[in-house]
Symmetry: C2
Subunit: 204 residues, 2 copies
């Protein structure tokens, strides 16, 4: 059972595209630190990527600069693909974040080589743009990538914060892009940070 059962067509490009499609199903077994809102288990990268993609349809009215939703959606669905080979790096793990860029670039080389070159490049560029957070579209996608686990944390008694023995400054740093790019949304975050500390979910 698995990719060894793949039947080749007479079209090499199509085979590359179908094999890549099969390969990325592995996103369903890359687990993140964040819990699902029902608290039943951790979420995986496929679920998270889908969730933030839908969110991009909802929150653009709060950005300080205009954004292209369609480009942000595409970034959201591909932004974690390289974790198939690089693994998920916990946002609040300072050691693991040191060699993150290097590990992820190597993973991208491997992953995108499965595709016809111009398609691999197109997706890689979207991922790199997301990662650099310089353009309005990538800033917006990055805000969704931060807002979603924040929402999950507030609804699961600060699960990830408690697990990481996290303090307010670390979360504020992670949420800085929202403070800059979506200040109205940040007000809600700030309010929740106060409460999370009050409830003992987060260190002051």
């Amino acid at each position: 059972m698995g990719i060894q059962d793949f039947i080749e067509s007479k079209n090499i490009r199509l085979d590359q595209q179908l094999r890549f499609t099969a390969e990325i199903d592995k996103m369903t077994s890359v687990y993140r630190r964040t819990m699902l809102i029902d608290g039943s288990r951790r979420e995986n990268d496929a679920e998270h990527s889908w969730h933030i993609a839908v969110m991009t349809l909802l929150f653009k009215e709060y950005t300080v600069e205009p954004v292209n939703i369609e480009r942000a959606v595409k970034m959201c669905i591909v932004h974690d693909l390289i974790e198939i080979y690089a693994g998920d790096t916990f946002a609040y793990d300072t050691t693991a974040n040191k060699d993150k860029a290097e590990r992820e670039a190597a993973a991208a080389d491997k992953l995108f080589s499965h595709l016809p070159p111009e398609q691999g490049s197109e997706i890689r560029l979207l991922w790199e743009e997301f990662d650099e957070m310089k353009t309005p579209d990538s800033k917006y996608a990055a805000c969704m990538d931060r807002l979603q686990p924040f929402l999950h944390n507030t609804l699961t008694e600060g699960h990830t914060w408690k697990e990481g023995n996290t303090n307010r400054a670390a979360v504020e740093k992670r949420m800085a892009i929202i403070k800059d790019f979506m200040p109205e949304v940040y007000k809600w975050i700030d309010q929740n940070l106060d409460l999370a500390i009050e409830r003992g979910w987060l260190n002051p």
Copy 2:
């Protein structure tokens, strides 16, 4: 733990959008008949929606009419949202498919009422367009929605076909949109159908 922990902001629209975001996390517990390619468990609607959204970035060269990828991606990420309330209807279950439209319309009424009206309408229109399969973009999205579980089936020893005691005609009917809209891809499907029958995964 859960939505009862939601802290309201001073912005009613933002609260609606955040609550909707939390509500749709339930897509992670709507399980489909299709197995993950590693055979470990069934896939859920969040994973499936993400997977076909990425696929739309890859296969547009095979369509018989030009398509707008960005619109197709958006349809893919929202096309199963109503299953949060309507449940997943197995494609090869003829009884359950009889009242599917009615159940899904009621589910849509409930789901989209959580959102500010114009946002609810926008997503509902995308879902309806997908469901009707009349425009090129929706035909393309529908092809991805059929191709993905087909690929999974070929890589999991025909899991869903065997479970449903399915025959070739039923799968051909389900794949008809691919035959019409993406004939080059259908050749690969046809070839796999021959093999699936030969291997006893599918009834002739």
